[in-house]
């Protein structure tokens, strides 16, 4: 591993922590002394939350940093681009008569969830008003008070990014997560049902998940379980994957499935979409570091995992079927990006490579199994995001480097690592995965049941035959009479 020399040894995943440490150790010159000082500091940091009863005791208040905040703003723009990217990725797979509807299921959420997030979503995920480890509060509705009067106030002690940039960044995640589920439901779900499902799912499933993992809640590093999820392996990919699995089971297969299955109508769209997703994932994972100085690692692990996964998927195809496919390359890359998401800032390069390759292999198997049992998760939303997110989350527990899980930012998780090593963290992650499966599964089922009872889930068989572009939107993607 490439170490940048800093006062007191190697770099940590959070540059703000490095900066704090550099300052604290500036006067200590002897290398040995410095090492002892760091050990003492780490020991103290681990003990402080236990003694004070508040984990935040170890974090000092930092002024807002321009570069770090800029990373968040850039990251937000990158993550936003993933949603139209996903629309192209999914749109390429469907029939020509359903491509606009498929793309709208993602694109439309940039409108719907974009508003929901500001009005109430952020507050439910990151406010502390309800004093609950499962749900936030209502105090920051309309982003009331977020970032102070001028929008430049820091997020919290120990963070040098502005709270407003954080709220924006998190909003982009909230948009793409329900969009991922659409891959399981394309070509048959009623658009009105999708509207209500996405709205309710975002509020009652996504926001509690974000709270539990990232908002200091039950599953996360400040809570009971102590699982670490760098950029959303659990909150985004397991949640979307399980949502897809359950909703496929409830909504049912497309009419005439599996005989009616058709090859993708536009493979270049799939490659374009996968390319945009990869590009956007630099924001998704990279900027989740929250500090510009050390984000190089999370950018590197992200792209390395995607590369390894693309290669793995194509090599499997090459050996099994004789030809590496373009759709396989695109799918493999996305699988690798999903797999590294929970781990991006917690592992070094060899582990990132292993995660990418293992996720691609697991997702490949999952796609084959799905086809063999004729389960109509149409665009493999569970097989790629659910399975990839699960493998990624479990491998994060097994492979996280203790040096990259500092105790002041991840008290419970660092304690687990210190006492029981990666085995214990793996167990914690198994628990977090199971709880997420249960919560998301039940939540999704209840919401679908309500939406189904009120507006109906599916279009009629005749409408399905006609094509949803015209039925739902009154448009066609390709004019059959272009002169």
């Amino acid at each position: 591993m490439a170490h940048v020399p800093l006062a007191g040894g190697g770099p940590t995943p959070l540059a703000v922590f490095d900066r704090f440490r550099t300052k604290a150790l500036a006067k200590v010159q002897e290398p040995e002394l410095r090492r002892y000082a760091v050990m003492l500091l780490a020991f103290g940091a681990a003990l402080l939350p236990l003694m004070a009863g508040s984990a935040k005791a170890a974090l000092t208040k930092l002024p807002t940093d321009g570069a770090d905040t800029l990373l968040m703003l850039m990251g937000s723009a990158l993550v936003l681009l993933m949603t139209p990217g996903l629309a192209f990725f999914y749109g390429g797979f469907t029939r020509a008569k359903n491509v606009l509807n498929t793309m709208m299921m993602s694109f439309f959420l940039m409108g719907l969830i974009g508003v929901v997030w500001v009005v109430i979503g952020y507050s439910l995920a990151f406010d502390t008003g309800f004093k609950s480890p499962f749900i936030g509060g209502l105090g920051q509705m309309w982003l009331n008070g977020v970032g102070g009067e001028l929008g430049d106030a820091p997020l919290a002690d120990g963070f040098a990014i502005s709270a407003s940039s954080f709220a924006l960044f998190q909003g982009m995640f909230a948009i793409i997560t329900p969009a991922l589920i659409s891959g399981a439901l394309v070509e048959r779900i009623n658009f009105k049902a999708w509207f209500w499902f996405a709205l309710l799912w975002s509020i009652f499933v996504y926001c509690p998940m974000a709270k539990m993992v990232w908002g200091g809640g039950y599953l996360g590093p400040f809570g009971e379980i102590g699982a670490i999820d760098f950029a959303g392996g659990t909150v985004v990919h397991i949640a979307a994957g399980v949502g897809a699995l359950v909703s496929t089971a409830i909504v049912g297969p497309r009419r005439g499935f599996p005989e009616s299955k058709r090859p993708p109508h536009n493979v270049p769209f799939i490659l374009l979409g996968a390319g945009l997703l990869w590009f956007g994932w630099f924001g998704f994972n990279g900027a989740s570091y929250f500090a510009a100085k050390g984000a190089g690692f999370s950018f590197l692990t992200t792209t390395l995992s995607a590369s390894a996964a693309l290669l793995t998927w194509c090599l499997i195809e090459w050996f099994r079927d004789g030809k590496p496919t373009a759709v396989g390359a695109a799918t493999g890359a996305v699988a690798g990006l999903v797999g590294i998401t929970p781990a991006a800032g917690f592992v070094y390069m060899p582990q990132a490579l292993i995660i990418g390759a293992a996720t691609a292999a697991a997702c490949y198997i999952a796609v084959q199994v799905k086809s063999a049992i004729q389960f109509d998760d149409s665009l493999d939303a569970y097989a790629v995001h659910g399975v990839g997110g699960t493998i990624g989350a479990l491998l994060t527990g097994a492979l996280a480097a203790p040096a990259l899980v500092p105790a002041d930012y991840f008290p419970k998780s660092a304690e687990i690592l210190a006492n029981g090593g990666n085995g214990a963290l793996f167990i914690a992650h198994v628990k977090a995965v199971l709880i997420s499966y249960g919560f998301v599964g039940i939540g999704t089922a209840v919401i679908l049941w309500i939406v189904g009872a009120v507006v109906g889930l599916r279009v009629t068989p005749e409408e399905e035959e006609r094509g949803l572009d015209f039925v739902a939107h009154g448009e066609e993607a390709y004019d059959p009479m272009t002169y």
């Binding site: 090859p263 195809e317 030809k323 493999d380």
Partner: protein, 112 residues
């Protein structure tokens, strides 16, 4: 007068056009069509799932020639379109009763 209808590989259209022009057959219409013959389509794989694509893209060329040029046109098309593999296509010859040039009102062979 005979109508010659050839269903051929899309990649051979330019060569066929040049071959016909070389023997003084000027004027033809082409259509994008899909179909299958003995070839019975092809197998494609996406994410490991196999699909049989029964109808493959072909180009249908239609042209009308005078009786004395029929054999020359058939051999020109055949030579230009042949690869020797299954899927090279077919040529159909049918009689034509009347031809009218819309601009001048000419009829019969002079209208071809």
């Amino acid at each position: 007068m005979k109508q010659i209808t050839a269903v051929v590989r899309p990649s051979k259209v330019d060569a066929i056009k040049s071959a016909l022009v070389a023997i003084d057959v000027v004027g033809m219409t082409i259509h994008d069509v899909r179909g299958f013959g003995r070839q019975k389509g092809q197998v494609e794989r996406y994410r490991g799932n196999e699909f049989t694509v029964e109808f493959l893209s072909k180009i249908k060329i239609t042209t009308v020639v005078t009786d004395d040029k029929v054999d020359a046109a058939i051999s020109a098309i055949s030579e230009a379109a042949r690869t020797g593999e299954i899927g090279d296509g077919k040529i159909f010859v049918t009689p034509v009763e009347q031809v009218v040039r819309i601009r001048t009102g000419d009829r019969g062979e002079s209208a071809i």
